[in-house]
Amino acid sequence: MKLFDYRFKSVVAILRKDFLIGMRRRATFAAMMMFALTAVASLSLSTSGAFVEPKFLAALLWVVIFFAASAGISGTFDDEATAGTLPTLKLYAPAQAILFGKMIYVFLSLVALTIFILPIFLILFDAPIENFLLLVATIFLGLIGVAAAGTLTAALTTSATVKGGLFPILLFPVTLPIFLPAIALTELSFTGAAFEASSLIVMAVFDLILITASSILYDYL
């Protein structure tokens, strides 16, 4: 229990540190938000006024979230590696505390991203929401999966010498099991049609699998 308590404190310390640095060096955050805004604006401009099918709309939303998230979280470990603080962090903190501290931070920044971009998206596309609760649940579960897979992927790409575009290439196939149900459920939240709870369960199960796998695999890094 003591061990758990100590790890938990380390996780909180890392989370708080990342938050402090994120607030002071807003570049990463601003880039992620602006990326999402630019993507939504360009999509909305190019379809201006035309009716966009709910199915297409749901896919667009997740594409925007995916690429904005990629822009935002690919530097999770990279920024520290560039600054030279990653070896220090790895020496002083337990490995699992680093992983989970970063994972929670990534998840929270994705939540912030979504809170920012979702209303803009819905307004610009004049999207109807029939089932708000379903939309929130879907996004919540989707972001957990992206955060879990994204944090491990960010740790993997840190050692790459050629980085341009590598992160989304690696992240996409492993998060697909999250995205496909997420897009289907988001569409249903727009149309208000009946949905199967099993899809939400599938997403939750994959979230758990991704978190567990990231935790196991990170130890080998």
Binding site: A160, P173, A213, S214, Y220
Partner: protein
């Protein structure tokens, strides 16, 4: 072993051309299915082989396993491309379109993405020790998508794909010559893969 394989492959090719009756209404080109099924099978086998060796590498830090994992992935990538192209041609003949995101096409496309991502990652990391570790971890991470592709995806999308050789009711609905040749082709392709994996392994 090489000679036997060449003979076997030649025999199977001959059987496909001369022995197998033309598929009803589809013509001779549709016999590409005898190429498509074995290559698809090998690309899946190679995927698991790559992950298997990745796990062995992480447990032992023996770089021979890393090389095997990489080789399996490279071979798998070639086979998955061949399978996708042959599948698309067969699809054009039977359904009138090269591509329609049927669950199996989606699966094989995801396989291409995973193989591509894995090989890109390998190319992007220059330190060979780090590369071995990082790519092994990615290989195992990507295996997690398998249960989704096998169990969940087919339920989400409507499929036009012919049911597998052994369909769900356990009955075999195929001409015995066709079936024999198909199985022989699958075995042959698997042996070719095994042989390529074993090539000058030190």
């Amino acid at each position: 072993m090489n000679k036997i394989l060449i003979l076997l492959t030649a025999a199977i090719c001959a059987a496909i051309i001369f022995l197998v009756p033309p598929i009803k209404g589809l013509g001779e080109v549709a016999k590409i299915i005898f190429f498509h099924v074995p290559t698809a099978w090998v690309s899946v086998v190679a995927f698991f082989a790559s992950a298997f060796y990745a796990a062995k590498f992480l447990r032992s830090s023996n770089f021979a396993f890393d090389r095997l994992s990489e080789r399996a992935a490279r071979l798998g990538f070639i086979f998955v491309l061949l399978s996708t192209i042959s599948g698309a041609i067969f699809s054009k003949l039977t359904w009138g379109a090269y591509w329609n995101w049927d669950p199996r096409q989606t699966t094989i496309f995801i396989l291409i993405l995973i193989y591509g991502a894995y090989l890109t990652l390998r190319a992007a990391v220059s330190d060979e020790k780090v590369r071995a570790k990082v790519s092994a971890i990615y290989s195992l991470l990507s295996v997690l998508t398998v249960p989704f592709l096998v169990f969940i995806l087919p339920r989400m999308y409507f499929s036009l794909h012919p049911s597998p050789v052994l369909n769900s009711s356990g009955k075999i609905e195929m001409d015995s010559i066709v079936l024999t040749v198909l199985i022989a082709a699958v075995v042959d392709a698997t042996l070719i893969f095994v042989q390529l994996m074993r090539r000058d392994l030190k």
